[in-house]
Symmetry: C2
Subunit: 483 residues, 2 copies
């Protein structure tokens, strides 16, 4: 396991020394949350917790790390000595991977002495921001494909090895049927797929020989790339010739077909479909790649393109139209001398950027059909009972209220314990199980909130107690200059 302890911003370490030196090492609560769903969408998918767990479990400063920090001439020996025995002793709560998440919900909540909680900020954000971004993008792409299989194959355009490895993991969690990335396949036991590239075709004297050779080698996974020279005049006819020869040789044709990788995919796919059908290959798959994303797939579907399998690279693995998730990590409470948490708030001229104070959890509210009705951010010391009426109100436009009667709703707390006193108490399910769970999660969301453009916003309400706490703090801080 890689030691990522120094994968942090220098200021975390200078602040740590500050907390250490001033004995201001109170237990605090930090929340990691996002403020906007990527790509203008109606939801996001939590992802990356498994790697956060690895990171926390492996958190320690090696002798080399200490020597390096010492060389910076910023840190005193007493602090460096403290780091030698550093490990995480706090609690972490999180929303499990594959879960739908909405803005301002704590995806990860860290309760720990501030010196520890501060260190882990950067890596937690790095990991959660990346994987939640790619999972969300992948869910959008899969949604556009309306049940067709989406293959992730963006490794070569990913932003470095980890972006490829963990991006592919996130893509599979959110619904991709597989990835081209062999290392991801090995690490997470997810399906890997792929056939051949243009270079295969070009390394043979002609396209037919290349196809024929490939078909002999892989008769059970024979998807031929038909656009190296001329898709409709050379590629598809040569593919049909090879399929015919396979049929004549008595080979059972299954999982076979063609891949289009350039040109007008609507036109080429319809023409190719007709050519394949006319030759008696009605079950030949037509797959496509070539700068695809959710918008292009949606458009091709609308145009009646005869494509049922999609390979998506660059635009998915980089979330090209929105390549940062924007998750932040904000102080929500500081423990007072009496052992009780004092809620804290971060102000901003932009009221959307004002944080929610206190020790919080999130309830998901479902209607009687099991569809997601709203989310409710509450304080952990509140209790909810499905046998009582539930009042929901909008935290900005507070006059917008809904009263749910018993029987009209169910509640699910979506935050779970992950670390207790520095010990991991959570086991990440296998990736393919998370994929199944995520599929179920997405099924609880109305299409109106899943559509690609201008989706219906899911309500994320605050409990009355949390709302009042926030208002009180806002009033206290409204004259900050007199402090």
């Amino acid at each position: 396991m890689r030691n990522l302890t120094l994968l942090t911003d220098l200021y975390e370490l200078t602040m740590m020394q500050g907390y250490f030196k001033t004995v201001n090492n109170r237990t605090v609560i930090f929340d990691a949350f996002h403020r906007n769903n990527p790509c203008g969408g109606g939801y996001a998918i939590a992802c990356g917790l498994d790697q956060v767990i690895d990171y926390i479990n492996n958190l320690h400063f090696t002798d080399d790390d200490i020597a390096y920090l010492s060389s910076l001439n910023l840190f005193d020996n007493d602090f460096l000595d403290y780091l030698k025995n550093f490990h995480f002793t706090g609690d972490i709560y999180a929303i499990p991977e594959g879960t739908l998440i909405f803005p301002r919900e704590p995806i990860v909540k860290v309760i720990a002495p501030i010196i520890e909680a501060q260190l882990v900020e950067t890596a937690i954000l790095n990991i959660i921001n990346h994987q939640s971004l790619i999972a969300t993008k992948a869910a959008r792409v899969c949604y556009a494909a309306k049940g067709d299989g989406i293959m992730e194959f963006g490794l070569r355009r990913a932003q470095g090895p980890d972006a490829g490895i963990y991006g592919a993991r996130a893509a599979v969690i959110a619904g991709c049927v597989g990835t081209s990335n062999v290392l991801t396949g090995q690490m997470f036991d997810v399906p890997v797929k792929g056939t051949h590239a243009h270079s295969w075709i070009m390394s043979f004297p002609d396209e037919y020989t290349a196809f024929k050779t490939y078909a002999d080698l892989y008769p059970n996974a024979c998807i031929l790339l038909v656009d190296t020279y001329d898709t409709l005049r050379s590629g598809v006819p040569n593919a049909i010739r090879v399929f015919k020869e396979m049929r004549e040789a008595g080979i059972e044709l299954k999982g076979y077909g063609i891949r289009l990788d350039s040109g007008d995919l609507a036109y080429f796919s319809k023409k190719a479909r007709k050519m394949l059908d006319d030759a008696g290959f009605e079950d030949a798959i037509i797959s496509a790649s070539s700068d695809l994303d959710e918008y292009l797939i949606d458009s091709l579907k609308t145009q009646g393109a005869a494509i049922t399998s999609w390979g998506v690279g660059t635009n998915l693995i980089t979330a090209k139209d929105n390549p940062a998730f924007g998750g932040v990590y904000k102080l929500a409470a500081v423990m007072g001398d009496d052992g009780k948490f004092i809620p804290k708030i971060k102000l901003s001229e932009n009221s959307e950027k004002i944080t929610n104070p206190g020790n919080k959890t999130v309830y998901r509210v479902y209607d009687t059909d099991g569809m997601l009705k709203a989310d409710l951010i509450a304080l952990t010391d509140e209790t909810y009972d499905e046998n009582e009426p539930l009042l929901l109100f909008d935290p900005i436009e507070t006059w917008k209220k809904t009263l749910l009667q018993p029987g009209e709703y169910t509640l699910r707390e979506i935050i779970v314990p992950v670390f207790k006193n520095g010990e991991c108490v959570y086991t990440t399910p296998p990736v393919m199980d998370i994929q199944k769970y995520c599929k179920h999660e997405l099924a609880t969301l109305w299409d109106e909130s899943k559509r690609l453009i201008n989706p219906q916003e899911v309500h994320v309400d605050l409990s009355k107690k949390l709302y009042d706490c926030k208002q009180e703090l806002l009033n206290t801080y409204s004259t900050p200059h007199i402090h």
Copy 2:
């Protein structure tokens, strides 16, 4: 060193088995190159070669790797046995890191048996695409700052750990004065910087106490974050109070100042400058962060913002407006039975996507002032002599010609050997030396080609011999359907 051997697309492995089984393992030449400069710019910066070298040096299939591949039921034992002893035996040539590059120039050229050259495609592209992208973006941001220092601090928004680690490396190579990323600092001996976050301020009873405590701890690097509560009414006055107390205590104030992280940076910086100056702190630094990129920095400069130090996060580390470099890896030649390379070409309906065939190198042509005049892609068996006239012509609009007389130009071959027969023959300079080299590289480029929007294109010409070779192949392949 991490074993990234399986960091490849599955199809590379299925093709490898195909080459292995059909004894079609000829020596070939592949070129990695890009087709468009990122962000609509006039240039790109080559970066990532050092990690490509590590990857190639460490290329081997472990027993676990073999067992995993075997479990896929795609590969036969004879091929898996071959992989057990696999290592790279070929040659690699590349354009060194920090060098200006332009579309269609081979950044990396691999000459190896196709079974080896095919495997390394994905990882080489992944690494070079990522780092060249971030280096290019960083060069643009530094250009906009007109000599002010740019700090990279995007780790928390980078697409995974590697994107943060190697993105910061690329950013420093292209001119950033430092990074917040401690691990990058440790791995590559580059400056790390940073002070404190809003959480530092919020963990104290009030802003003044937080500032004062920080100043006591770090009197030599006292940059105070002033926007937690109210920048002009609370943050700047409290910072001035602390600076005054430091002055009164006889502390020499150096490298001190404030950081703005929200609000209208032009307005706040001018107001803060006046407040600091009026209090006698004319040398206090005003640094700024908050969703900056090259366009915003350029605009703030134009508006006369009183900022001289910039922290750039998300937009740089993800190259947000253009998060993929788009480099490709294309077959350029296959060795014939006579031991000579047969040039290969990849056709496309888009003539910009047609590849350049053959075994190529790149010459940079300078004028007598040492400024970059044009690049010339030539075949390696051509020789050039600065004592002879040099004819340059545009490969698309061939009537556009320039004849340079001896004394009017100098030539520099920018591709260097990196591996010979599988042995590394190149030593990567320290990152800060590459930064110096890159600065010199950028100084050879006219401002007209460096400007952010609508830059003058640098001419990349083909030698007459390469041009003729390409035309001949195009004519051969113009009737591909009869093959």
